[in-house]
Amino acid sequence: MSVLDVTRPDVVPPPVERRLLRRLWRHPSGRWGLLLGAALLLFAALGAVWTPYAPDVPDYANALKGPSLAHPFGTDATGRDMFSRVMNGAHRSIGAAMLVLAAVFAIGLVLGTLAGLAGGLTDTVVMRVADVAMALPGLVLAFAVLGLLGPGFVNLLVALIVADWAWYARLSRSLSLDARQRPHVIAAQMAGIPRWRIVLGHILPGVALQVGIVATLALGSMIGAISGFSFLGLGVQPPAAEWGALLAESRLFFALAPWLLLAPAWMIFLSVLAANLVGNALRDVASPGEA
């Protein structure tokens, strides 16, 4: 029985990188996404505290100047430095998108998992409310909430959360229903592990990872949505800078100063790109069996 002796140790598999961030870094698109995302976050953080010029103070003598060394992105109709405004607006655009996604992720994860695991009345109530939220197209629902609350940045965020949470709740519910049936969950039940520990240790991490990947992939469209609402004047109110709002302002002077549109448009494009690169890489490295 030398060959099959059960106590004969197996060959040791080669070490594998297990930390998610490192694996993301090794993924080609993940690395570029992380670098780009880090650069954008740094840019946004810096823009919140310091800009080369005051972003909100008009300087009528220098209105609608083209790009130059002093004003790399030019100046707008009231002479405000466009670079400073793009920089100052970054934390609103990126921060708001991340805030909304963090909120819908958390609300959806908690409500969806609760509905899936508790079942019964809780499930019925949560899911029927979610059905109502999902029955209305997201933008229409957001418009309706903004109509009730009035335009404004905080109200915009609330509107987007109301419009989006139900999708994440549905996803979390079906993932947790599936996870509840997994053999490792049944094994833990049989071992006498209390319910709350099974939920926190076995079910939630797996569901959160899957839902988190979906949320990361949605970051791009969320930045677009926030910019879109600000473009329509329903989000950030003047004179505060935000990329969508900057696009809306610049649009009026398109014939005179077309470069004004380019800067915020590029920033939106780059942040959508970074989010999608990271989201795609995350989906690749986190999928089980891929190791």
Partner: protein, 482 residues
């Protein structure tokens, strides 16, 4: 006579630079069955794909591959399309995966003619299926694949592969999705066409029974080639000996000491949907400490439900389940499942999954260091002392995962282990090891309840075997003396 297939120094190089198949040479004479056998990672599937030209553009196939005198290395897609079906037929592993669920089985078989602009009447197709042992073929070919059993559907695949009477059939694990009893019938059907067969399989027992010559693959190379008899009597390569060892009987069973039953089910029923769906009807079962009880029956006969009733995660709608006091504390019954990878927490290091039963409330508290020590001992017992306890399940093989699951099931000294098809996802050496470990658990006084469709596996492993059919148990089929 000229060989139908002659491989000379065949190598396959992936785009990544890996060469899963290196310098393989063999020939197949008309009507002969050559089996290529090997463990996982030996390069079996890569060869199968190379033989039918299914590798994608990034993969380089080099050497020589002569099919009926025609050189196929470097052949373009149009040439391969001409050859497939006429010169070479292919039978894939999973018959359901090779069928479109929305089309009738007859359509699938007819496709073999249609793709070469030929026609075949359904009556003709039915006759072919009939010859392969599909009963009532004329009526059944109009049905959809999901209404067919795996064994029958695999015969339909064989009929399609042999439609144009190619001189050579390639069969890649044709029976691994099937029950053991059906596998034999499918192999007989495969040989009955009279074509030469290249059979690719991990199942050395099957190969020895059905092949004329056997080649052993190991690590991408052909390490030994011989007749089944010669291979069995004088295996030359360690890889061959490793494969053959899985056929060895388990070491003789120490007679179980007489002991009292720990679980007794009498007249137990589980009816779903207000009695319209009986899963288990009037079942009787007795499990004794230190003995292995097997429940044997075909898929869908209610075995798994019976197991869940025994575990207590389902309540019967009728009858009584009596459990000994030893089975009433939490953690006294621990399960082993059919899906080894899914039975471990995917985002946990394996040591944490193994240690989990130790952390249940009511158990003596153990420090993290003590737990790790006990995990190390438990992993060593199942032969996994060499793996990194920090490894995630996805880094281990399926067989290793099942042994980790066994380490978890035994670490907290349960009174009973229940196992649901514990070996159906495993290759023969892993099956042997898992059987041995279940046997060890019983010899240490644990009651073991195993359900399986595989009569051979249960005959080797269990002390008593109970049959089950359509939800009803049929007395002990076989019982060891007490």
């Amino acid at each position: 006579m000229d060989p139908v297939l002659a491989c000379q120094n065949l190598s396959v190089t992936f785009h990544s630079g890996a060469t899963p198949v290196r310098d393989i040479s063999f020939t197949v004479a008309p009507g002969e069955c050559l089996a290529l056998v090997g463990g996982s990672g030996a390069g079996k599937s890569t060869i199968a794909k190379a033989l039918v030209g299914l590798h994608r553009n990034g993969t380089k196939v080099s050497g020589s591959l002569r099919l009926g005198g025609r050189q196929m290395v470097g052949a373009d897609r149009a040439t391969w399309r001409q050859v497939r079906g006429r010169q070479i037929g292919f039978v894939a592993q999973n018959p359901w995966a090779s069928c479109d669920p929305l089309r009738a089985v007859g359509d699938h078989v007819a496709e073999a003619w249609r793709c070469h602009d030929l026609t075949m009447s359904w009556r003709g197709i039915a006759a072919r299926l009939d010859k392969l042992g599909v009963s009532d073929a004329g009526r059944r070919i109009a049905q959809h694949p999901h209404t067919w059993s795996g064994g029958m559907l695999q015969r339909a695949s064989i009929a399609a592969a042999g439609a144009l009477v190619p001189p050579l059939l390639i069969a890649d694990e044709p029976t691994s999705a099937l029950d053991a009893d059906r596998a034999e019938a499918v192999m007989t059907a495969l040989r009955s066409l009279g074509s030469a067969v290249v059979l690719i399989s991990h199942d050395i027992g099957l190969v020895l029974r059905h092949a004329d010559r056997v080649g052993v693959l190991h690590d991408g190379g052909l390490v030994e080639e011989s007749t089944p008899e010669a291979l069995q009597s004088a295996p030359a390569h360690p890889a061959t000996r490793h494969l053959l060892a899985a056929l060895a009987p388990l070491p003789p069973r120490r007679a179980p000491a007489p002991a009292a039953p720990v679980l007794r089910m009498a007249g137990v029923s589980a009816l779903y949907d207000k009695g319209r769906l009986p899963a288990v009807v009037d079942a009787d079962l007795e499990v004794v400490a230190g003995r292995i009880v097997g429940v044997q029956g075909p898929s869908g006969c209610g075995k798994s439900t019976l197991l869940r009733l025994a575990m207590g995660i389902e309540t019967p709608t009728g009858g009584t389940v009596w459990r000994d006091d030893a089975l009433k504390r939490p953690g006294a019954i621990l399960p082993v499942f059919q899906d080894p990878v899914g039975s471990l927490v995917p985002h946990w290091p394996v040591w944490r999954s193994v240690a989990e039963p130790l952390t249940a409330p009511g158990r003596p508290r153990a420090s993290a260091a003590q737990r790790r020590e006990r995990v190390a001992a438990a992993l060593a017992r199942v032969g996994l002392g060499g793996i990194d306890p920090e490894a995630r399940p996805s880094e281990l093989s399926v067989g290793q995962c099942q042994r980790v699951a066994l380490a978890r099931a035994t670490i907290a000294a349960p009174a009973m282990i229940v196992a649901d098809e514990p070996t159906s996802a495993l290759d023969s050496p892993s099956t042997w090891r898992v059987s041995k470990l279940l046997r060890d658990a019983a010899e240490n006084g644990t009651a073991v309840l195993v359900v399986s469709h595989d009569s051979g596996f249960l005959a080797r492993l269990a002390d008593d075997v109970v049959g089950m059919e359509a939800g009803r148990t049929r007395g002990p089929i076989r019982a060891a003396p007490r």
